[in-house]
Amino acid sequence: MVSTTTTSKSTDSSKSRNSRKEQVSGDLECLTSKINQLKKRIQAERVLLVKEKVEKNREKLGKDVSHLLSLSKQRTVDSSKENSEGGRMLSARMKNPACILTGPGQILGDDNSSTQEAAIHISAKLPPTERIPPYTTWIFLDRNQRMADDQSVVGRRRIYYDQNGSEALICSDSEEEITEPDEEKHEFSETENRIIRMVSQDYEPSEEVIKILTQYIGGSTSEIHEAFITMKTENEANELKDGSVSADNEHDWSISLDKSLSASLDSLDNLFCRRCLVFDCRLHGYSQTVISPTERQYYPLESQENVKPCSDHCYLQNRAVNKHSNHLDHVSETTTRTSDGVHKIQISGDPGKRKISQQTTTTSEEPKHVSDDQQESSLKKQKRLTIPDTVSVTIEDTQVSNDNVNNRAINVDQDELLMASNDEATSSAVPFSSSLSVSENVTKYRTKVKGPPENTEWKPLEKELYMKGLEIFGRNSCFIARNLLSGLKTCIEVANYMYNNGGTSFTACSTSDGNESADGDPKERETHARSRLLRKKGRAKKLKYSWKSAGHPSMWRRIADGKNQSCKQYIPCECKPMCGKECPCLDNATCCEKYCGCSKSCKNRFRGCHCAKSQCRSRQCPCFAAGRECDPDVCRNCWVSCGDASIGEPPRRGEGQCGNMRLLLRQQQRILLAKSDVAGWGAFLKNPVNKNDYLGEYTGELISHREADKRGKIYDRANSSFLFDLNDQFVLDAYRKGDKLKFANHSSNPNCYAKVMMVAGDHRVGIFAKERIEAGEELFYDYRYGPDQAPVWARKPDGSDRDDFLVPQGRAKKH
């Protein structure tokens, strides 16, 4: 609430500043009076508001209450009809109860003195029942989830219940710094915000102004200062926005064409998870670095057949049309042109042969002149095969003559084809005459053809899209126009632009193995911080790795030695094209995965398996042996399909009998939850399973080790912990979120085992059966505490089998 000050105070303070300039103090007085005015106005508004609210509430209340009022009136009316004390039901009933219940153990008729006839005696004895074990609500997760920052216990005071002392205590760790509780941040109320806003519009954040403000509103000086500055910048931003709203609305869907391509892709890049292929992934978070792979898939050059024109505005279309147009206008054109000394383009009347002979020309003609003539002619074409004056053409006949191509087909490289003509010449296009054989386009032409717009200015975004199109498709204006610039530039315009700017050494090449990329014009491109264009010239060597060679990652040797697989968290590396000594994956002793930037033949990549029929369930499968699940993108015969059959499915690539993709495909067993035979709650199997069958995944929150230590303290006190060590960076905590397998208890002679598997770059915990398990049996696995970490109940008994000493649903850290 705004703290009130009297005006006298402020005038005093202004008087005391005698040393200041007159003007300044005048301003400040002005300011204080302004603030006062504003305050008064706000208060007046508030009064009005309150009045309104009271009125509204009264009406509402009236409606609700009227019903009750009428009911009660009715009742008093009714009861007054009866012959009783009228309205004093309660006291009457107290004397004449409808029934009496006596407590347990009381003899009937003991204290009946006050009762009258027809009192019913009921003695109730409740049978003792067992308590159900304590149960905490949890959230189901079908996959691990990273902990959000506000879920952390670090820095928070936690209260736990100490059963020994039967009281609630605050958990205080010695290592934790007891942070001083911050002074509460002052929240600026609406009124205060208004005052600040008004002031910030006209005044600079000088000391005096802030001082005055502190008299009127609460909060520390620094807070006010901050808020002031924020408001000021907001105001300025608002003003700017109003001015520039209509600036870049060129299209009805208002994309800003002044942005760069990477800016347009920015939110997509930020939110897309490359691993999970969705946006806003809860496992991997957002703001992942975009790593583009070394090999990308280009459009194979050989199959670029410009057989059909891509659209109405295709450059091909016009050529065909031109060709079809009969000699009439053509003759007129040629005559005009020859008269001007320009060599004409001969298009033979015979549609079969499309020989375009072009000669280098020098012209004395002005482009304008030509265009005038053209405009005068009654029949206009969109495009002419004119020879722009300033350009000299070199002809290559090799690709031009096609006898086997139909009338409209042109299979030329656009480099050699002159399509560019002047803008003026192409600006006005009148619907075609009926002599055209392109009848199917006629109606469409009438409505759609406006000719290439006068304005062929290329915005930055369009240019970048064009460059991207070159990367993807090479010099093919049809594809570029359709896929990248649809709605922005027509095929013709792209062809123009390509011609005009295409004199560089750019060659679109996609070699058959796609190792090489097009070296775009690097100067034209922005160099992003995350540059994906570090390419070597020349072909990358294809490294050969045989199955048995030493090309397998060094990790594999360790497995063969019997040691455990890597327990480090995988992070995609960005080495291009090959991982060198500084590769983080190599440092960490993790394998590179398909998400890394390195080439597919990187030495550090896991090569997957080639198992044909074995179902990948034995140590013969390299994936299985390495504690990894098979990867449908890497392993040769382990394919999975997708799609729910309503819209078909991708082409099959194999039979898909792999049994080593259980976690990926979520092929778990049904788990039931019931009171455990040994302690608390337990997990049970519904259907029988065989040895080494996959039962399910132990999911939970992914937390850091530090966080786990903190949480563990409380869990241990309660003797119930759901923490599971995953790798060097993360611990799974299933206390708040998880699935039913969190209820599986510990046993030193268990029927299941837990195994950390690497699935598509993620470590996940799978629970497997150690032996055959029948339906309805409870599940146990060894929590594998370190010797000095185990709670009492988990300590291995010396010699005797004491499974039944297990205790409440407890776990502490498991390894």
């Binding site: 583009s292 898939q297 991207k468 896929n483 649809s486 997708c642 495909l665 519904k686």
Partner: protein
């Protein structure tokens, strides 16, 4: 739970309710302030699609883009801004090496077809209106039949 329920085959455990999942997805996306509405819409459509179709592997993506374009094409061409986001996303997928250029082109061809279909529809509607206005005087339904027959 009753014993019969327990023993029954029907399994509601970790059954993902599509509507709830969609709602949650939208809510999660709405939390972002610097993402435009159209981008959010496109992201939501994609997320929903991936979840329902269980797109898991990199090798699924080309098929997924094509199926998505077919499935949502008619709606996308009616919302050019969302369509633009989808096209940008496909370019992004190419950047990642998940989508090949051929499939990218095919998807755009599909979208073009959707667009021309829609335009044809509009022309049809316009023509129908014109005939109506022309005062032939037939009833609406019969008009429709007549027009269909003519066109």
């Amino acid at each position: 739970m009753a014993m019969e329920q327990v023993l029954a085959e029907r399994d509601s455990e970790d059954e993902v309710d599509d509507d709830v999942a969609d709602l949650e997805d939208r809510r999660m996306l709405d939390d972002f302030v610097d993402v435009s509405k159209d981008e959010k819409q496109m992201m939501h459509l994609w997320n929903s699609f991936v979840r329902k179709q269980r797109v898991l592997a990199d090798g699924h993506i080309p098929w997924a883009c094509e199926a998505f374009s077919r499935l949502h094409g008619p709606d996308l061409v009616q919302a050019p801004s969302v369509l633009w986001c989808w096209k940008l996303f496909m370019i992004k997928l190419w950047n990642h090496g998940l989508l090949d250029a051929r499939m990218l082109n095919s998807c755009n061809v599909i979208l073009e077809e959707c667009r021309s279909q829609r335009q044809n529809q509009e022309i049809d509607h316009m023509n129908i209106d014109r005939i109506k206005l022309g005062g032939v005087g037939l009833e609406g339904a019969r008009m429709g039949e007549l027009v269909r027959f003519l066109i």
